[in-house]
Amino acid sequence: MTPLPPHETLKEMTLTKVTVGYDGNAIVKEASFQLREGQIGCLLGPSGCGKSTLLRAIAGFESLMSGDIKVDGEVISSTSHTVSPEHRYIGMVFQDIALFPHLTIAQNIAFGLSTWTKESAQERVDHLLSLVGLSGFQSRYPHSLSGGQQQRVALARAIAPKPRLLLMDEPFSGLDAKLREELVPDIRKILQHEKMSALLVTHDQMEAFAMADQVSVMDAGVIHQTGSPYQIYHEPETHFVAGFIGHGDFLSATVCGPDCVHSDLGTIRGDLDHGFADNTEVDLLIRPDDILHDDDSEFVGVIVSKLFRGSHFLYRVKLSSEKIVYCFASSHHNHLVGQEIGLSVHLDHLVMFPR
């Protein structure tokens, strides 16, 4: 076995047209993206979209049908060769945590440190235990820990050998919402402290936004868009991304100028050229916060349902065209279901897709 010395941090990892699959069926199709030093990336998509398979390919558990994966210029996966997982300097945290039940917490964390000297391994384990807030738990066994504590140990175990990249496969899916909210900033802090790049897989966009610097949205094996959480939300590049991220509705609209469209809610002007030819039929993306309650507006809709959210109401409103859209209203505007209210659109940037 090649010893795993502490490794230099990752400068960049590049995936080029990576296709992964079994028996000739591609599960991931031509995935490309890049992750740079210290970044936390995220593969976000509905279950079954191939994001976990792509993660396993990066870890070295799946071989590629085409394309290649390079780390700092060195090819670790290609169609002809797959560097085996134990020689990649890539750590991984698993969805089902997968602590070794026959080993203590300290032995679990030290599992990847077999080539370190005894003293340095001990020091590393102690350091990590205090980092994840579990000092004093070293001789306990995994089954005696709560889910959140086990998850911290799994993280400590994965980063113990100082891998150049940490992969996390739905690391919070087994935890309740409150624990997740506590753990996410903790893990971000720990990763920054260790100056470690990481790649997270999740189906939960709130988790993705909270953890990641860069999000790649996947569906049916294809990466639709890679960008910052802000870009993904406000400037979605495909119909799927627009529908998958956040609440949103599509309004049927017709292009009436380089920066304007006609819709059920009147003529809407954006601040940029949208690049579609006049009279093109398009779907216009409307976020809940784009439509406001406005008694003076000439456009009206009938309230179908409402959700009280404390600071505001989230109404579902049916327009004259039978289309139902979200509408935000301050919590002073308490209306009954079935009532008609005025609506006005506030959009800066038009996001639309050909119909």
Binding site: A59, S63, E74, S80, E86, D96, A98, F100, H102
Partner: protein
């Protein structure tokens, strides 16, 4: 930069020896059943007509009556005991709830020999009656043990634990809430039991009953000794008495049909278990407290099967073995060694093959591998008699071809290599008990999640290191369990050993059978007692695992 040339692997498909091994093992282990089936098809009308005119009706009638009687008996002992020990609280409940498993350690033929020794004309009970009343032979009526009724009682006494075990698990899984809901909807405690608890447990009860009926069909020792003609005795009589392989196979074929129906029934009921099982964690159940005379009665009811199924026969066996049996020590040591050695080797083989099959299925997402594992486990459903016939026929054929071949080429005469040697016996045991070891090993391996392998690899361990540092320590327990269960099952197995053992090679089970056949029931006691005592080991293991499971679920619900 690290040199990667030696650590990266080419993505070429390698020869998958595990998959090939799995298919080979399955093909070999399915040989006996194939032989029986081929012989069934080879039979001509005459054999059929003969069987039909002479013995068939008798066999079918006896086998059905036996199944009916044992089924009813096991149901009415197993289900009430399971319900009482899981839902009620009464004096001695904890002790009784595991002691009810004890009769499992007792092979049916041994309890049959023991009760015959106690209850027949020369036995202590009838002697006592005669001494007391002054009656002599023919002047009084006494229950005839060696009858169909007797066989039903004997088999019921040792087989009810299957129903008990299954229905108890089902009752424990039923959440308190389900039953409480029924109370709020206006059902009394009693009607809630019949409308809810019992129907909910029905799939589990059916599974337990299926196991009981399969064991009943497979029984040879009891019915043979009691002179009840069933398929198993018929098969061996036809095979030995008339040397008629085809007719024996025809009978085996019908027996196989019965077994298949039972398996299909069980599959059907298990299908519904999945449907019934709720994901909810069991609430800590509040038991119905039975005190005073009701508590004592309940305790007596649960004690009754243990008393007759275990305490009496074991005490009598121990008394006979200690004070009355005539069996030279040296011969007994030889018998014990033969049995232990044979059972040990068979257990090793079954567990090693089970490991190969389990890893093959873990490492290959391949339909041919999972089918192979399924086929390899089929033998457990087959009565030992069928496996014995299915083993001896092809091995004898192979031996004669080898003898001919050697003679043709060298003129030398060689003896039998496979049939009539321990090879045949070990092969038959492997076929019969593969499923047992496979179950235990797969259960253990299933607890090592694939992500643990991956975690090990991503922490810098080679596949071999993952095996030695993660798999072996975690699998140890299940492997030992598998070894133990197969070991005990082989020790108890009678018909296959009887047919396939080498000339003059005796085991404890065979010797007990032979002595009983010579009406030397008391001399059979030491061998019988030893089988029972060794058989206690897996029962203890089982009772420990059910009590720890209950504790475990308590811990879970406490969290």
């Amino acid at each position: 930069m690290v040199d990667l040339t030696h650590s990266s692997s080419a993505n070429k498909p390698k020869f998958n020896w595990l998959k090939v091994a799995a298919i080979f093992i399955a093909a070999t282990l399915s040989l006996p059943i194939l032989v029986v089936l081929v012989n069934v098809l080879m039979g001509d009308g005459d054999v059929w007509r003969h069987l039909y005119q002479t013995v068939l009706a008798d066999y079918i009638q006896n086998s059905l009556l036996l199944m009916l009687g044992v089924g009813i008996g096991a149901f009415f002992i197993g289900v009430p005991c399971a319900w009482l020990t899981s839902m009620c609280d009464f004096p001695g409940r904890k002790l009784l709830s595991w002691a009810l498993l004890l009769p499992m350690a007792m092979p049916a033929y041994i309890i049959a020999y023991t009760y015959t020794g106690i209850l027949d004309f020369a036995g202590p009970v009838q002697t006592f009656i005669r001494d007391l009343t002054g009656w002599s032979y023919g002047e009084y009526w006494f229950f005839e043990v060696r009858s169909l009724g007797g066989a039903i009682v004997m088999l019921t006494l040792v087989l009810y634990p299957y129903v008990y075990l299954m229905s108890r698990a089902a009752f424990l899984e039923q959440s308190e809430n389900t039953l409480e809901v029924s109370r709020t909807l206006g059902y009394s405690g009693r009607s809630a039991f019949f409308k809810l608890a019992l129907p909910l447990a029905r799939p589990a009860i059916v599974t337990g009953l299926t196991l009981v009926l399969m064991e009943t069909l497979a029984d040879y020792g009891t019915v043979q000794y009691f002179g009840v003609n069933t398929f198993t005795t018929g098969i061996l009589r036809t095979f030995y008495g008339f040397g008629d392989v085809v007719a024996a196979s025809q009978l085996a074929g019908i027996l196989l049909l019965f077994v298949t129906v039972l398996i299909l029934l069980e599959r059907y009921s298990r299908h519904r278990i999945r449907y019934h099982a709720s994901g909810l964690k069991k609430a800590s159940s509040r038991r119905i407290n039975l005190t005073g005379s009701r508590g004592v009665l309940t305790c007596a009811f649960c004690l009754f099967p243990i008393f007759f199924g275990f305490i009496i026969p074991v005490s009598v066996l121990a008394y006979w073995a200690a004070f009355k049996a005539e069996l030279p020590d040296a011969r007994f040591a030889q018998l014990a060694w033969n049995s232990l050695y044979l059972a040990g080797v068979a257990a090793m083989i079954a567990v090693i093959l089970a490991l190969v099959l389990s890893y093959a299925i873990r490492l290959n997402r391949d339909r041919s591998v999972s089918a192979s594992v399924g086929i390899a486990g089929l033998g457990y459903a087959l009565p030992g008699t069928i496996i014995a016939i299915g083993t001896i026929v092809p091995l004898a054929w192979l031996d004669h071809r080898i003898i001919d071949l050697v003679k043709y080429y060298s003129g030398e005469k060689v003896g039998l290599i496979f049939s009539g040697t321990l090879v045949a016996l070990l092969f038959a045991y492997t076929v019969r008990f593969m499923a047992v070891s496979l179950g235990a090993v797969q259960n253990g391996l299933g607890k090592i999640k694939p992500s643990m392998d991956m975690a090990g690899r991503s922490l810098g361990m080679s596949p071999l290191k993952v095996l030695t540092r993660i798999h072996i320590p975690l699998l140890k327990g299940s492997v030992l369990t598998a070894l133990l269960i197969v070991f005990v099952d082989v020790l108890k197995e009678l018909p296959a050993t009887l047919v396939l053992r080498p000339f003059n090679f005796n085991t404890l089970a065979v010797r007990a059978y032979e002595l009983a056949a010579d009406e030397r029931l008391i001399d059979a006691a030491p061998a019988s007692l030893m089988i029972v005592l060794v058989g206690l080991a897996p029962v203890i293991l089982l009772s420990r695992s059910i009590s720890s499971r209950v504790e475990h679920s308590k811990v879970e619900s406490a969290e």
